[in-house]
């Protein structure tokens, strides 16, 4: 399976007028109000917004975990409904299978798809090594730190050979420093193993550090408010002038700025 590094001009994920409503005590509440999006192959797209609703639901719809109220999802040019073998996901909290070891978790996907033990072990080992967990293969998730658990989650998603990886605020519960480390890690892995990534976060630093393109969503119902193409060279510095300027600009766009900045305006 040849994977080229460059972004190709073919749309990998295409969302067409996606809408989602939930029934809340008899009333229909719209959380996503018509989203159109084209994501290219091997692009790193960040869905960013301050609101609580919409972003995760959108990912879940792409993954097949949530019904689509209206609209169509195309994956690799074909209409998709339900679970798609080309889609992998990394979750918010630790979603590891607690009764399986690190190895058991990482090889879960290939095993579920009936790949022979020898082959899947080799592959799982490759990804375990890639996320820096060599030596922890036999550990159970309870014995791992939060950062390590998320590494396992990343390796597990990659090990299933998806073309598209969805990441749903994977580092929201980590402390600031571990978070920096994981962001660097994700970028390194992505540089080495190019995939189409859709990453949800409400942390602007994280968004700017990782994204080729930031899609800013509004609060309920979520629609695309603005898009930013981020062309800063990688790996990025979080304290470079351009980075901080962009950060300030986008922060102001989505929510209340710091008081000092408010006065400055």
């Amino acid at each position: 399976m040849e994977r080229t590094g460059a972004i190709e001009k073919q749309s990998m994920v295409r969302l067409e007028n996606i809408k989602k409503s939930f029934d809340v005590s008899g009333k229909s509440v719209e959380v996503i109000g018509g989203i159109d999006l084209d994501i290219e192959k091997n692009e790193f797209v960040v869905l960013f917004g301050a609101g609580q609703c919409g972003k995760t639901t959108l990912l879940k719809m792409i993954a097949g975990l949530e019904d689509i109220t209206k609209g169509t999802v195309y994956i690799d040019g074909k209409k998709s409904s339900g679970f798609h073998p080309g889609v992998g996901m990394v979750y918010q909290t630790t979603s590891l299978f607690p009764w399986l070891t690190v190895m058991g978790n990482v090889e879960f996907g290939p095993k579920a798809r009936g790949i022979k033990k020898e082959e899947r072990r080799k592959k799982a080992q490759y990804y375990i090594d890639l996320v820096g967990l060599h030596g922890f293969e036999k550990h159970y998730p309870v014995k791992l730190s939060g950062g390590m658990c998320q590494r396992v989650g990343i390796a597990r998603a990659y090990c299933n050979d998806p073309d598209i990886i969805l990441m749903d605020e994977p580092f929201g519960h980590l402390d600031a420093q571990t978070r920096y480390m994981m962001e660097e890690e994700v970028e390194k892995i992505w540089a080495k193993e190019k995939r189409t990534v859709i990453f949800v976060t409400n942390n602007i630093e994280e968004a700017l550090y990782l994204a080729d393109r930031i899609i800013i969503l509004t609060e309920c119902p979520a629609v695309v408010a603005k898009e930013y193409r981020i062309d800063l060279p990688r790996p990025r510095s979080m304290v470079s002038e351009e980075f901080l300027a962009l950060r300030e600009e986008i922060s102001q766009l989505v929510d209340i700025p710091r008081e000092s900045e408010e006065k400055a305006v």
Binding site: G88, Y91, F108, V142
Partner: protein, 262 residues
């Protein structure tokens, strides 16, 4: 630090031994000094009685024989009730239809203690081992069902989603996700039901058997042989302790993924 832990362990053992010795001393004094002694043996008498009973039969068999008989009865009833209880629990926990059908009748049967079934069981199965198995079976069954059901109901829907995204087929969710999630619950069911089973065997033996620890206790009382009576009780205590420890070790083995620590 290793040394510290070691001294702590020795200390615990010492304290425990001390506790047992004090208890025996109080017993001895109570028997010698108070009116207890007219009907009650001293600890020494009981211990020597036990030593003797290991080689000389009481009734049909020796002390160890009686323990063995009780134990084998428990195991048969317990294993059957565990399997049946786990299966029913899984059905009730994993299928809404199953729960709707079974829950009302189960809730009525649940509060009836195992020993309440003794008359019916004798009527149905006579006074043989089958009756005893049955009493043990109903003694542990409800606990197993409740625990397993709780486990199956609490399976994380998120994890099922995770597995589905990873490509797991729908028909394999039960074996791959539901069952392992239930293991800790099944284990706590097994532990509780083991102690109820052990109680149930005694009650059943007291009423319908001519061997086993329950018979030993009752016949000891009826023939005025309190040594036999107390011997039976102590055997029960020791066997119960051994069984509980065995279960704990098994749990640690099988549910090691739940244990925190270094």
């Amino acid at each position: 630090m290793g040394a510290v832990i070691k001294t702590k362990k020795t200390q615990t053992v010492l304290m425990g031994t001390l506790g047992i010795l004090v208890f025996l001393a109080v017993w001895q004094i109570a028997v010698l000094v108070t009116r207890f002694g007219t009907i009650f043996p001293t600890p020494f008498e009981v211990l020597s009685g036990m030593a003797k009973a290991v080689v000389e039969p009481i009734g049909k068999t020796t002390l160890l024989g009686h323990v063995g008989i009780s134990l084998s009865r428990v195991l048969v009833g317990y294993i059957l009730s565990s399997i049946a209880g786990a299966l029913v629990g899984l059905v009730m926990g994993a299928s809404k239809l199953g729960k709707a059908v079974l829950n009302p009748i189960f809730n009525i049967i649940k509060p009836i203690p195992g020993i309440a079934w003794i008359p019916l069981a004798i009527l149905w199965f006579g006074t043989g081992n089958t009756t005893i198995y049955f009493i043990i079976f109903v003694g542990g069954f409800a606990q197993m069902v409740m625990n397993t059901m709780a486990g199956a109901e609490n399976v994380s829907q998120e994890l099922i989603g995770v597995a589905r995204v990873l490509g797991l087929k729908k028909n394999r969710i039960f074996l791959t996700i539901v069952l392992p999630s239930c293991v800790p619950y099944i284990f706590s069911g097994l532990q509780v039901s083991l102690s109820t089973s052990w109680m149930a065997v005694l009650a059943a033996e007291m009423i319908t058997a001519t061997s086993g620890c329950g018979w030993l206790i009752l016949s000891g009382m009826q023939s005025g042989n309190m040594v036999n009576n107390v011997m039976g009780m102590i055997s029960i205590g020791i066997v119960g302790l051994v069984l509980a420890s065995f279960m704990r070790i098994m749990e640690r083995r099988l549910c090691s993924w739940k244990e925190r620590g270094q």
